[in-house]
Point group: C2
Chain length 203, copies 2
Amino acid sequence: MERNDAEPAKRGRGRPPSVEVRRRILETAAVVLLENGVSEVTFDKVARRAGVSRMTLYKWFRSPGSLALAAFEDTYAHTLRPPSSGDVWADLRTHLREFVANLSEPRTGPMIAGLLGSAQSDPVLAEEISATFTRPRREGAVELLHAGRTRGQLPASIDVEVLVDQLWGACYARLLLPEGVLDEAFADALVANLRATIHASAD
Amino acid sequence: MERNDAEPAKRGRGRPPSVEVRRRILETAAVVLLENGVSEVTFDKVARRAGVSRMTLYKWFRSPGSLALAAFEDTYAHTLRPPSSGDVWADLRTHLREFVANLSEPRTGPMIAGLLGSAQSDPVLAEEISATFTRPRREGAVELLHAGRTRGQLPASIDVEVLVDQLWGACYARLLLPEGVLDEAFADALVANLRATIHASAD
DNA sequence: AATTTCATAGACAATTTGTCCACTAATTCG
DNA sequence: CGAATTAGTGGACAAATTGTCTATGAAATT
């Protein structure tokens, strides 16, 4: 998203970027994002409402989608909890519930859907979203399932990378497609289906 | 998508819509869709390239996305095969492979992804896509799984509506998110994971 | 022949994008 | 201190797209 990132202090010579300006930009973008959705987050509108020169936005953000993602991260992003615990089923329930709660929140859900939607016609935005949102979550999920398989709580022959899509990916599908609802019951049903198949022959 | 639909012959009084004009519009839109993606399918561009008045497009199509969907349907849409057969596993393999092949085709895959992307900021387009693409496929999938459960090939306690998202929805997730690849191996792995869990306790 | 609907051609304002330039402001280096 | 450097402003411009509006002609039905 933003062009510079790592060094907040080690700036060369010139005038340092104004934190104040940056804050106003991100705050305004976040408000527009919340009120009107991703498609309304334009350089023009944000610049006018933030009382900032449009050129500054062009300098720091690659595209309106990129700005929207930065504002989302800055204002609405949640921190990730570690996979932890020793029971896959408890972990799955906890993490899927939390994930679904995040995706189905009236504020953040449509934002994420909109961002992923814009990413379909913007490969760079897709990579940015992957780096800051989807990939970290996927890695946690893989870790969780892998640990469970190692503990023998999941069949050894299971493909963990695919199973992630069958759980978390299914949630994304419900978020992005108009079919079916995305709620806590769905999260529980995902886990229940997995358990149902595993215990089917044992019952 | 288009405003009228059902009655091709029973037109009231005035001059009938020109099939020729309609054909040129859809053909041109399909070409633009193929060459440049959904975001390039604009009323202006299609009208100019088709040699047709822009007003005509505004009359027949609600939005550029809607036009793109109509062109997609008209030119690239596949017909659905019935669920049939007596073996869930064979059916799953066949249908998921066919579905994945469709979604991962270099032409149709990005088109569908782009259309679903546009739908994130256009609820009416979302409903149109649902009616002509996602819902019919989902209904076939539910039917397939329901039949398998009735035959006792799937645990009775399984939630079929949720399992659809764990199979077909997982494919949509791989299509729409930048993580993971969507290929025939993935389709097979989805089925394999399901079988692995079912037979886990029996082995 | 009158009515109705389709199609065209042109015009217009409003947004947004992307780029350019000149100017001012703040900070560091020599 | 002064020069170089980077940040931010304000204005301007062309280009594309949308949405709407007019006027005009073309093709069908009653």
